[in-house]
């Protein structure tokens, strides 16, 4: 059974004339690291809201199709129950942190679930260690930098031990170094614990190296789906996807007639390929 499976998922927000998402049928296997991207308003946030029942429980409208997450039929569970299976990290960690200490924030969800104290403590400790914030346990969230706050938000989600994490542009408020660090933490959690990861991102330069799959949506539909090097082609460029700059450079050089047949995702791959043609 896949980690996420949807069939003909269509949603129209109340009051809207047209669906924001139309006939989305997808299957994501356990342990995959998927980037979900597309132009503003393409339906990616709508899709994510369906995964934990925010649609239709909190956003009204007409939802059609089926959706299973972690073998659970989403339409039969509340968003609170679904939080054991799927965790959400938002763009702005300030929206997620509200306790007086980082430790209390990380423990908050567990207390709500009624997890026994001893287990809760162990999970909080593990989540803070996994995200590298053990030394911040007694700090107030407002005393932390943006990167530290986002780590705390991820730790809070991680403590729930979800099998799936959805992150909606988690690095957009962070400086590039902190952004790389956070993506590194997420990739490590994906590798070590096989947490299925859905990352909504525009900054493909930073994140592509970690993903095994990229799904591109446009006008409410899935239009491209595959490995980054397969998906980052002319079609993606024409939709208006901001491809990694090394990928764009290789497209330009191919148009000049040079024998560069791969689509590099990282600087290292691009440098390796270019070195070969520069030495011939």
């Amino acid at each position: 059974m896949p980690a996420i499976s949807t069939r003909d998922l269509t949603f129209t927000y109340a009051g809207a004339n047209a669906p924001s998402m139309e006939s989305v049928s997808l299957s994501v296997e356990k342990g995959e690291f998927v980037i979900l991207t597309g132009p503003s308003g393409c339906g990616k946030t709508t899709f994510c809201r369906c995964l934990n029942g925010l649609i239709p429980n909190f956003y009204s409208g007409e939802l059609r199709g089926d959706i299973f997450v972690d073998e659970v039929n989403v339409s039969e569970k509340s968003t609170a129950e679904l939080s054991r299976h799927i965790g959400f990290v938002f763009q702005n960690p300030e929206n997620q942190l509200f306790s007086l200490s980082v430790e209390r924030d990380v423990a908050f969800g567990l207390e709500n679930l009624g997890v026994p104290e001893e287990e809760a403590l162990a999970r909080v400790k593990w989540a803070m260690k996994s995200t590298g914030i053990e030394n911040l346990r007694n700090k107030a969230p407002y005393e932390l930098s943006g990167g530290q706050q986002q780590r705390a938000a991820i730790a809070g989600v991680l403590a729930m031990k979800p099998n799936i994490i959805v992150l909606d542009e988690p690095t957009s408020f962070l400086d590039p170094k902190s952004a790389e660090d956070i993506i590194g933490v997420i990739a490590q959690l994906n590798r070590e614990y096989r947490i299925t990861t859905i990352l909504v991102e525009h900054r493909l330069d930073i994140v592509s190296r970690y993903a095994n799959r990229v799904i591109i949506m446009d006008q409410g539909k899935v239009v491209l789906d595959g490995a980054p090097s397969e998906v980052y082609g002319d079609k993606a460029r024409l939709i208006g996807i901001g491809l990694p700059k090394v990928t764009t450079l290789f497209q330009m050089l191919r148009r000049e007639g040079f024998p560069l047949y791969t689509n590099p995702i990282t600087v290292e791959q691009a440098s390796g390929e270019l070195s070969k043609v520069l030495q011939k």
Binding site: P39, S40, L174, D175, P176, V246, E256, V267, L274, K280
Partner: protein, 282 residues
């Protein structure tokens, strides 16, 4: 002209300075990106441009007038500041009301208001949303409404705090063209940003802040290729600058930061090695 003279600042009740002895001159028509790590003092600095904050020491002058001598409302007529989080700025029930609000306050005629709202909505790809509530729009769209709500009154100096957050590539491209248009009208554009790839494409002058002091002030190609200084401010080199740096070849230019520059350099090198390659049309 925005002139920052020996400015130091700390927030009330906090022990240490957010800005220390900052000096900066921004001439009319300049395009400046203020960059630096989270907490470097970037937003604090630009909040002084329209008097939202006043320095503890030193002064800030806009067009020769000390910001202490004018109210925020007066300064805002000349210095439009677009906040990082659009939700701190938006309040009206429709996009059209949001965009006309300030113009009504400034006493413009309804005819002028209508024309300006139409122009700015078209320029920022918001025309299909004018009768929608800003709060049902996506994050990227709300950000553009916030930008339009300031630009509509045509301030002389425009300051945008993280304008590219939540924007897709096409919208960033549109923003870049729009900035070029503003500069060509003689306006000053200051952006606060972490987006090194956007800056590598726009190539503004960069003022690099770290821990409340200016550690560099130079062209984008000089700063974004200098790994030592970029690392100090928690930035990374743009992918293309990193690629050129990593290529194991001699005599490479040190100022390439975007794909077009890299293409031109590599094409000239590769033509020497692969003389029979032909450009593919279409």
């Amino acid at each position: 002209m925005i002139s920052v003279n020996n400015v130091s600042f700390r927030y009330a009740g906090t022990p240490s300075n957010v800005l220390t002895n900052v000096n900066l001159q921004i001439k009319d028509g300049d395009f400046v990106a203020i960059m630096g790590e989270n907490g470097a003092g970037k937003t604090t600095l630009v909040k002084m441009f329209n008097g939202l904050l006043q320095p503890r020491e030193g002064n800030v002058c806009v067009d020769g007038v000390n910001t202490r001598e004018k109210s925020v409302a007066q300064l805002s007529r000349d210095v439009g500041l677009i906040f990082q989080n659009p939700d701190h700025q938006l309040f009206a029930e429709t996009v059209s009301e949001e965009l006309s609000f300030s113009l009504r306050n400034f006493g413009f005629d309804e005819e002028v208001i209508k024309r300006r709202v139409t122009n700015i909505s078209t320029a920022l790809d918001l025309d299909k949303y004018v009768e929608s509530s800003p709060f049902i729009l996506s994050g990227g769209e709300r950000k553009r409404v916030a930008l339009a709500a300031i630009l509509v009154w045509d301030p002389k100096h425009i300051v945008m705090d993280e304008p590219t957050i939540g924007q897709d590539y096409l919208q960033k491209d549109r923003l870049r063209n729009f900035i070029v248009q503003l500069i060509s009208q003689g306006k000053t554009v200051v952006i606060v940003t972490h987006d090194v790839e956007f800056v590598a494409e726009c190539k503004p002058r960069i003022v690099l802040l770290s821990k409340g002091t200016i550690i560099a002030d130079n062209s984008a190609s000089k700063i974004l290729t200098n790994n030592e200084i970029v690392t100090r401010a928690s930035l990374v080199r743009p992918q293309i600058a990193e690629l050129i740096h990593q290529l194991p070849i001699s005599e490479k230019p040190s100022d390439i930061i975007d794909a077009y520059g890299a293409r031109d350099f590599l094409v000239s090198r590769l033509r020497g090695i692969h003389p029979n390659t032909k450009k593919i049309c279409g």
